[in-house]
Subunit: 368 residues, 2 copies
């Protein structure tokens, strides 16, 4: 598993370098609770007697009345562990056009599933579009890039007839008696055509039709406007498509504020999730909202914009810089994020992401 991680890391580096991307080290410590979902770990304020707390207080440039209370913060304001490098990566993309990072992310998610870790590595990339964007075609371009990346990075490691020895030894241990999962993986990479793509609306229609025809029975209701549950994703990839499938153009209300609102249908955004058999969601990405007025509306709706005309200070206005990126010379761009442990799990036939990283951390669990 360690050697597979190493191969994938090296191959990711080569792929992005060949495509003209620069690798970037975006910060782990941030003032933003990124997606605003309350999943960020907070850095503990310091005991006032700690030497670092004293130094931090004296170096703080903020002479506001609030500084009396915040002196115990090392950074003179609350700090969090990043849940995603996306926003910072977008800032660097304005300078470098094409950037990616493979970095640790942290989420205080209570879920104890085989797909979640409190500390995990994420591959994230952002790049400016140079080709024309119109008629909702652009999100397909992003899907194509992601597919080319995954095929380039992982394809040769699982190629039928020449499986990489490290991958082969993992599959020997995998709970896959008839070799069906490995074969399905190999088929995914051997397909000469592009992987299937369907919109969220089409996916919902397919799921509803299957329920009506009594072809399948789901625990959760399928309804336009509701999120797809794991059981739905599984059915789409494993039963309907029998391979990886990009589901695009989800309802705006289900997705974060930074995704581009579709011009043809403002109820949806130009985004995708890549669903793969036996794992579920592997990648999520979108075209980013570059129109500052539309972004401002979305941020307002998400509660990230302070009330008009009020000076709330830097801390309460932690997303202003993100909005400003569009004001002062942005460019149409897109990006995606892929949980690295999920890729390892899929390629190595490992059931649980906890086995895909040395010394895993999840709720209640922190060894060594």
């Amino acid at each position: 598993m360690l050697r597979l991680r190493n191969s994938l890391t090296r191959r990711i580096g080569s792929f992005f370098s060949d495509q003209g991307f620069t690798s970037a080290n975006t910060p782990i410590l941030t003032g933003n609770d990124a997606e605003g979902a309350g999943e960020a770990f907070r850095i503990a304020p310091m005991d006032l007697s700690h030497p670092a707390a004293v130094a931090a207080a004296s170096s703080s440039s903020s002479p506001s009345p609030a500084s009396q209370e915040s002196t115990s913060e090392f950074f003179s304001r609350p700090a969090y562990l990043t849940v995603s490098h996306q926003l910072h990566l977008e800032a660097l993309a304005t300078a470098l056009s094409r950037v990616y990072t493979l970095s640790p992310c942290f989420r205080a998610e209570p879920s104890l599933t085989r797909r979640h870790l409190a500390e995990f590595w994420m591959l994230e990339a952002e790049w400016a579009f140079t080709n024309s964007m119109s008629g909702g075609r652009d999100v397909r371009e992003v899907c194509k890039f992601v597919e080319a990346m995954i095929r380039g990075v992982a394809g040769p490691l699982v190629a039928s007839g020449s499986v990489d020895p490290d991958v082969a030894s993992l599959w020997k241990k995998a709970d896959d008696p008839d070799g069906g999962k490995l074969a399905s993986l190999q088929t995914s990479f051997a397909q000469p055509d592009w992987w299937a793509t369907m919109t969220y609306t089409e996916a919902v229609r397919e799921l509803q039709a299957a329920v009506e025809n009594k072809a399948v029975d789901f625990e959760y209701e399928v309804k336009w406007g509701k999120g797809l549950q794991s059981e739905h994703e599984k059915w789409l990839a494993e039963t309907l498509v029998k391979g990886p499938v990009f589901v695009t153009d989800y309802p705006k209300d289900l997705k974060p504020f930074y995704m581009r609102v579709n011009e043809g249908d403002p109820r949806t955004v130009a985004c995708f999730d890549l669903l793969v058999p036996h794992l579920g969601e592997l990648v999520g990405g979108s075209v980013r909202e570059e129109r500052v007025e539309v972004l401002h509306e979305s941020m307002k709706k998400a509660g990230l914009v302070p009330p008009e005309g009020e000076d709330v200070g830097e801390e309460a206005n932690a997303y202003k810089w993100y909005e400003d990126l569009r004001k002062y010379g942005g460019a149409p761009h897109a990006g995606f994020g892929m949980g690295f442990e999920r890729l390892v799990a899929w390629v190595g036939g490992v059931e649980n992401v906890r086995e895909c990283v040395p010394m895993p951390r999840w709720a209640g669990r922190l060894l060594l």
Copy 2:
């Protein structure tokens, strides 16, 4: 600067891969306050009403009386941001022989110098020795490996006559009117001989002689058993050696518990610091103590071993696993750590490490 980081990262990957090293993703969140220096950032306990806090509490496997109070910890015990990946890397080295990582580290250092950041990237490597170790020669072997690595990674980027364009543009901005620093850097890499090596004891003797001869005047006293100050390091590299210099075999009391005690002189340990002109300490490393009794004594002295015969629980005994690595099949090994921003500063002629990473964080400072 971003492109220089990218080149160095890529070249580090190639160098270690060629040398048979596996890259590893060691954890950021840890139960250890690693070097025990009180510099670790602590993760804030969670509000008990937070859903993740409740889930963490119910999943906690510890039925001890203390669990009532610790329910607010997401990991059911206090968690810190790692200050170094070394201990975890050593554990992986027992499985993989040669491992390295280029990962973020965190130190709540109050110092506001041009050489320190609260969040920085560190290159760390650990490998088992296969050659014979005797007579204190082994730390020289480690120095030679480190030098070969730095020459391989950075040498071609600054080679006289063919300076890499990204490096050249940084040097154009550098405060180096006569080009002396760049020339000194190029000389360091062009030397056909190995870089100078001297023991701490020899270095102290040279420093003391220089003071006696009134060749130099230091603010801090030079005395065997005391640490070398920045002014002393500067004089050794810039005035005495006029190039990079490895200073080895420091007094045991100045260094952390895991360094190997020298057989010939138990007051010293088999370690080194690499000092380079215009920057100071670039790399620190050592042979690791593999003799479990000697290690136990050093850990006891550092206050990392709980009182004999007392069952203090997992939390108070956070280093036991490290000691156990030696008990249950360890191997003689060595390693080093290099601040990545310092390498960028040296190679790019950048004065302040804060300019060597996008969105830097230091005491009192956390933007975006």
